[in-house]
Subunit: 430 residues, 2 copies
Amino acid sequence: MKQVKIALLGLGNVGSGVWKILNFNKSEIFKHCGFEIEIKKILVNDINKKRYLDIPDGILTNNFCDILNDDSIEIVIEVMGGAYPALDYMIEAMKKKKHIVTANKLCIALHGDRLFETALKEKVFLYYEASVGGGIPIIKQINESLTANKIEKIVGIVNGTTNYILSNMTESNMSFDKALCLAKENGFAEFDPTDDIEGFDAAYKLSIMSSLSFEAPVHPNNILREGISNIRIKDINYAKKFGYVIKLLAIGTLKNNSIEVRVHPAFVPKNHPFASVKDSFNAVYLKGNAVGDLTIYGKGAGDLPTGSAIVSDLLSILRNNLNYCGINQARNLNNKYDILPSDEIESEYYIRLNVKDKPGIIGDIGTLLGENNISISLVTQDIQTKHQVDLIFLTQKCKEKSIKNFKEKINNYKNLNKLENIIRIENLNN
Amino acid sequence: MKQVKIALLGLGNVGSGVWKILNFNKSEIFKHCGFEIEIKKILVNDINKKRYLDIPDGILTNNFCDILNDDSIEIVIEVMGGAYPALDYMIEAMKKKKHIVTANKLCIALHGDRLFETALKEKVFLYYEASVGGGIPIIKQINESLTANKIEKIVGIVNGTTNYILSNMTESNMSFDKALCLAKENGFAEFDPTDDIEGFDAAYKLSIMSSLSFEAPVHPNNILREGISNIRIKDINYAKKFGYVIKLLAIGTLKNNSIEVRVHPAFVPKNHPFASVKDSFNAVYLKGNAVGDLTIYGKGAGDLPTGSAIVSDLLSILRNNLNYCGINQARNLNNKYDILPSDEIESEYYIRLNVKDKPGIIGDIGTLLGENNISISLVTQDIQTKHQVDLIFLTQKCKEKSIKNFKEKINNYKNLNKLENIIRIENLNN
Ligand SMILES: NC(=O)c1ccc[n+]([C@@H]2O[C@H](COP(=O)([O-])OP(=O)(O)OC[C@H]3O[C@@H](n4cnc5c(N)ncnc54)[C@H](OP(=O)(O)O)[C@@H]3O)[C@@H](O)[C@H]2O)c1
Ligand SMILES: NC(=O)c1ccc[n+]([C@@H]2O[C@H](COP(=O)([O-])OP(=O)(O)OC[C@H]3O[C@@H](n4cnc5c(N)ncnc54)[C@H](OP(=O)(O)O)[C@@H]3O)[C@@H](O)[C@H]2O)c1
């Protein structure tokens, strides 16, 4: 019987999931790879912390060298998160010829170059299915199942925290702040939720998916990024009124010789399948020039779904008998595409303004929109108090630059109380 | 530069798709596998047939030996369809150490044992992604992306012809016969559509998916199978009235130590994602004990989508440098499960009867249902003419056996004009 020794870096949410799966599904896993897997060491911060797992003595360590210098450990599963020291640990482990499986979107998105270079040089596997979409096998799909295609578009709902918050705001008419609190209480948001709420996490994931799909480098810094902290219950309700729900979308498009990449909240038609993606579920749509439209939908987070992706990656290594084979593996980012400047990105928009209750205001604002090349498809007003009116404009497609110009101008308009919100409308009809 | 010579068996729908993709996406494909691919020979019935492809002279042949005996051909793509001679051709080719990619669900479902045995013995690859779900990479998902899981359930809409017909009946209030004609006209149904309409095609696909998922042999003959030729526009409309649409479902469930497998039309809740799977789109839902719910949705037929699956399989072989590696490949059907006898399968049902217009009939039929252990959840009647009434019963869960007994009895009931239809209701809430 073949045996392999592995180590985990981290035993939090995902690490515990991996531990559970390797124990519960032992017999399935053995059948699927022909190896008996021993978790020899697990790196944690605090070896004395109470853990609700039955970990034998001598396995937990807080010293990475116990893993690095143990030549019997052939695979390292990195599920500690963060850029440092995780990045260094992975690189050092690869230099010792250990294969890596990681769930770390931040490291792959920001430091992928160094990681893949090291993997290539050291001839070790570096798998990262769990870094995007939790349990959804989107990386393997792009890398192995769609190799006959030129991929032209990706649209994803890839952040569970924001999706949970937006679902609650939509279904229970809850304020953003209350929905965020609930998300924290129920383990759907971190203590510091900035990364999720402001769209960084989704941008890392979009960076990983677009780089792979378009085979060109897409750095998170080049992604247009807006979070959801500005979404108010009023916006949710206006969206409903017009037949939409608000979702945080990650969109990558190959256009002629440039790539358009953006993460932002958007109005999505309420009868589109993406509108029904609830809570911590994720969905990713891909368009390939041969396969056409392909959508995958499943659990984007959680110990067992994420663990499923990690353990399946681990089995991919074992099924290759730990023998590195380059081409399945290496990221090829040789295409020369420009990243479309964010000013040039086109969308339809929803614009909500609070204005004085006077005649002629719709005309004034309509003129200002027109002067900035923005065509209106719908205007409606909603009297709030005796002296205030909500004005909603839905626009036709226009450039981000036009919206920026309009924003600057409107803020000087004497009858404006407040420019409340501007949100893109994505009809997702490809 | 590495080069490989391949042959196609068949240049119909799918074969043409493969040809087009290998030409249009040449540069992507080269990047993805490192091989230049030459299609050296293509087997067809009639080499003089007009084909709308630019095939150089000397490539078409109607003699399989031209391919079999050409040692320079290392991979054979079987897209001719049918059991014979396709099965023999594949086996002979494997004996000459040629790898196989096939789209032939019939051969895999009915003769998988012989095919996989030969592949194992000859140490050649045998890939068949295109045999289920056209462009949807469901085989790779089960075989490679969910290896950490014990798979517990599969539900699929996997037949484009029936889905196209049912979509048209539902949306355009079209009769079954008219929808079938339209399907033929638009290339969505064969001249003899029996295989699709009567659920054989879906049963082959379910057999392939369940064998793989549950790792036990599931022969198509052991699948409960009903087609859609009995569905009337009235049933479609009653379904609508109760909040459902009718779909042909393929369902495989692992229950304790037995497998339940069935293909039949069913009422599906109209707000369930499966209700929106239109025309030739396919969808497959899987439940794994680690990953949870996972759904994949895309084009289930057509030259390019199916070609996408075939060419991606071809690239899997090339990425392994044509070196056979057993474990990725072999089907493991060693689990010992019984197939649940169809009498024991439980469902909710919709029952439509045409009866005389007399008092007491609902009572009589209700009693008869009760005597057969069938509980009613709803009854409604609809007067058709002065003397005839449609009665609709929706039942709670009951066994197929109870329904069979009821059917026998009701046919002797004096006030029955006709037992019009019995259709299962699947709420798909896992
Ligand atoms: N949570 C999800 O659903 C999910 C989904 C997809 C991907 N991911 C990714 O998976 C990774 C892990 O996420 P998680 O939710 O499991 O995190 P977590 O619950 O915070 O767990 C982190 C683990 O790493 C250990 N650790 C952290 N820093 C360390 C250090 N410097 N030295 C030693 N040990 C250290 C911690 O030790 P202690 O236990 O002693 O504190 C803990 O066991 C992240 O990259 C995340 O982005 C998570
Ligand atoms: N169509 C789809 O969308 C789809 C999707 C998934 C899977 N599939 C599977 O793919 C396979 C092919 O389907 P298809 O729709 O492409 O079929 P098709 O259009 O009928 O094409 C069959 C091809 O095979 C050739 N052929 C058939 N029998 C032959 C024989 N005995 N000797 C030599 N050549 C022979 C025909 O030659 P001629 O051209 O000279 O007649 C034709 O080129 C089937 O197994 C099918 O189930 C199809």
